[in-house]
């Protein structure tokens, strides 16, 4: 039960990556490689601040702000300096590898001696559940899972509301059809900056939460996150659909949890962990190619 909850918690934390990738890739058609770097950036900034004695909420928000800055930098390089989206993301992500190492000071920092968000939640909610008769260890894990579920639900709700406002709708229009947005007076470069800042702040939040959940921050922890996010978005799309904005956001989050469960099941069934990233890439490839293949088969 605890293992299942732990898998859920991890999948839910990574759902923030899926929401971020949904914003960059689905709304802005921007394959944003910054995701890998900003995930780690969120983790190392939060970890660094917590180790320095800052409140975990402040540390997490600072991690998100750093992620937003990274995303905005990628967008500026693309929109105002004319560099291709993929290359812009690769440049920033490469630079972030150094930034993350400098911020963290070394390749790995344990968080066992600091108070994380999860410690605070466990201390607050755990005893309440324990008094209700839930096993103490299980109560702690339930509190963590519930907390991450609340965070993801709040993030998805805020995204939904924002992208239904006039500014958010203009941003979606700019991502969908830049010619139309420019013809209606929108600076599509600025819209992309805003979109990637939002996207990478969510990814950084995920990095920060994962670091606090697993009890350490590592400069390698973001590798493959953009592929994870895409796999989650595609999987969620296939499972739930993407008829409207709300459904598409829920689908992205559900895709992440489902994908995490699939990964956990595959590992339990004996998949060599060394092959995990390759398996993730294969899932994304299958999700990209299958609809085209099935579509062509259906045509007479």
């Amino acid at each position: 039960m605890i293992t299942l909850l732990s898998t859920w918690t991890f999948g839910l934390a990574l759902a923030l990556v899926a929401l971020g990738v949904f914003v960059s890739y689905r709304l802005f058609s921007f394959p944003d490689i910054t995701t890998d770097g900003s995930f780690t950036l969120g983790a190392v900034v939060a970890a660094g601040l917590m180790v320095a004695g800052y409140d975990p909420v402040v540390a997490t928000l600072a991690g998100m702000a750093a992620g937003a800055a990274a995303g905005a930098t990628t967008a500026v390089i693309h929109a105002f300096l004319g560099v291709e989206p993929l290359l812009s993301g690769i440049l920033v992500s490469t630079a972030l590898a150094s930034v993350n190492l400098v911020v963290l000071g070394r390749s790995n920092v344990p968080l066992g001696k600091v108070t994380t968000l999860f410690d605070a939640v466990e201390r607050t909610v755990g005893p309440v559940l324990a008094r209700a008769g839930v096993d103490r260890t299980l109560a702690g894990e339930m509190a963590r899972t519930g907390f991450v579920l609340l965070v993801v639900a709040a993030a998805a709700t805020v995204l939904y509301i924002f992208f239904r406002t006039r500014l958010g709708t203009a941003m979606r229009a700019g991502g969908d059809t830049p010619t139309m947005a420019r013809a209606l007076g929108r600076d599509t470069g600025l819209l992309t900056v805003g979109g990637l800042a939002i996207s990478n702040s969510l990814t950084a939040a995920a990095g920060s939460l994962v670091a606090q959940y697993q009890g350490f921050a590592d400069v390698q922890m973001g590798i493959g996150m953009v592929v994870w996010g895409m796999a989650s978005v595609f999987l969620g799309n296939a499972l739930v659909g993407a008829a409207g904005l709300g459904t598409a956001l829920a689908a992205a989050a559900a895709g992440s949890v489902t994908f995490r469960l699939l990964v956990a099941t595959a590992l339990r069934a004996g998949l060599d962990p060394d092959w995990l990233k390759a398996a993730t890439a294969a899932v994304v490839l299958a999700a990209l190619v299958a609809p085209r293949f099935l579509g062509s088969r259906r045509k007479p």
């Binding site: 406002t165 500014l167 958010g168 013809a183 600076d187």
Partner: protein, 270 residues
């Protein structure tokens, strides 16, 4: 209203010759005039319109609109004054958004959109009323994804978006070229109606000689980046598609003569 002063757009590919797509065009369009622009392929008519919209930078010359010198304005800055409808229906609307959401973006044309709810009741009522006036029945589809609508219906919505706030200038870039004849006819009727009712200043590029003869107060024929014919008033009203076809043939013949003459001269002197 709109003034082009010796507008020139020239391109040069690496090692290639300099091509003047727009060659020193000067033009004055008074407020409320509906100008139809025709020309052969590559004549520079779309480049001319692009230089007004801001998609193409002038190599030299100035563009003034409604008292503003907009020569150095960005495309999105000009959108505060200019409404545009494109040839491709997909270029003027966001396919993943609903009809109402597209109109919500248009309702904020040229100003900061703000954080209000995009598709509020007031916009919904206004959109339904305006759509029903143009194509009765379309107002029932406000919540439908615009990507699922036909090209003609999308162009009608784009027209409404471009004129939601009265533009100082409406630019129509072959906006019926990608439509079937019936849909093109409906869009032309809607266009003429909106321009007439709003007394809009409009510049419409078209390939259709029938549209060129029947629509607008003034006709401009562009050839090799220059204005070859500029008629308005009774002379414009008398023009028929056959007259325009004859004019095109004359230009083609002149081009052939020019090329032949160039070859003869080259043979003699090079």
């Amino acid at each position: 209203m709109l003034d082009l002063d010796n507008a020139t757009v020239q391109f040069q590919s690496a090692g290639g010759p300099v091509v003047r797509a727009v060659d020193g065009v000067s033009l004055h369009v008074p407020a409320g005039q509906f100008v139809v622009v025709i020309g052969t392929n590559g004549s520079g008519k779309s480049t001319l319109q692009g230089s007004i919209a801001g998609t193409v930078r002038l190599s030299s010359g100035r563009v003034r609109l409604a008292g503003h010198d907009i020569t150095d304005w960005s495309q999105h800055a000009r959108a505060g004054l200019i409404g545009r409808v494109f040839q491709d229906p997909r270029a003027g609307t966001a396919g993943s958004l609903t009809v109402l959401e597209n109109l919500a973006v248009a309702a904020c044309r040229g100003r900061f959109p703000g954080f209000g709810w995009a598709t509020d009741r007031r916009l919904r009522e206004e959109a339904a009323s305006r759509l029903a006036r143009i194509v009765p029945g379309l107002e029932q589809r406000l919540d439908q994804s615009i990507g699922s609508m036909s090209g003609g219906q999308r162009q009608i919505v784009t027209l409404l978006m471009a004129t939601w706030h009265r533009p100082e200038l409406l630019l129509l870039d072959e906006h019926t070229a990608a439509l079937d004849p019936a849909a093109a006819d409906r869009v032309v009727q809607a266009t003429a109606g909106l321009i007439r009712e709003g007394r809009l200043t409009a510049l419409m590029v078209t390939h259709s000689l029938a549209q060129a003869a029947s629509l607008g107060d003034r006709l401009i024929l562009v050839h090799r980046g220059r204005i070859e014919l500029d008629v308005e008033g009774p002379a414009k009203r008398r023009l028929t598609p056959d007259d325009l076809a004859d004019r095109f043939d004359a230009l083609r013949r002149a081009d052939q003569l020019d090329d032949a003459a160039a070859r003869t001269l080259a043979d003699l002197y090079v």
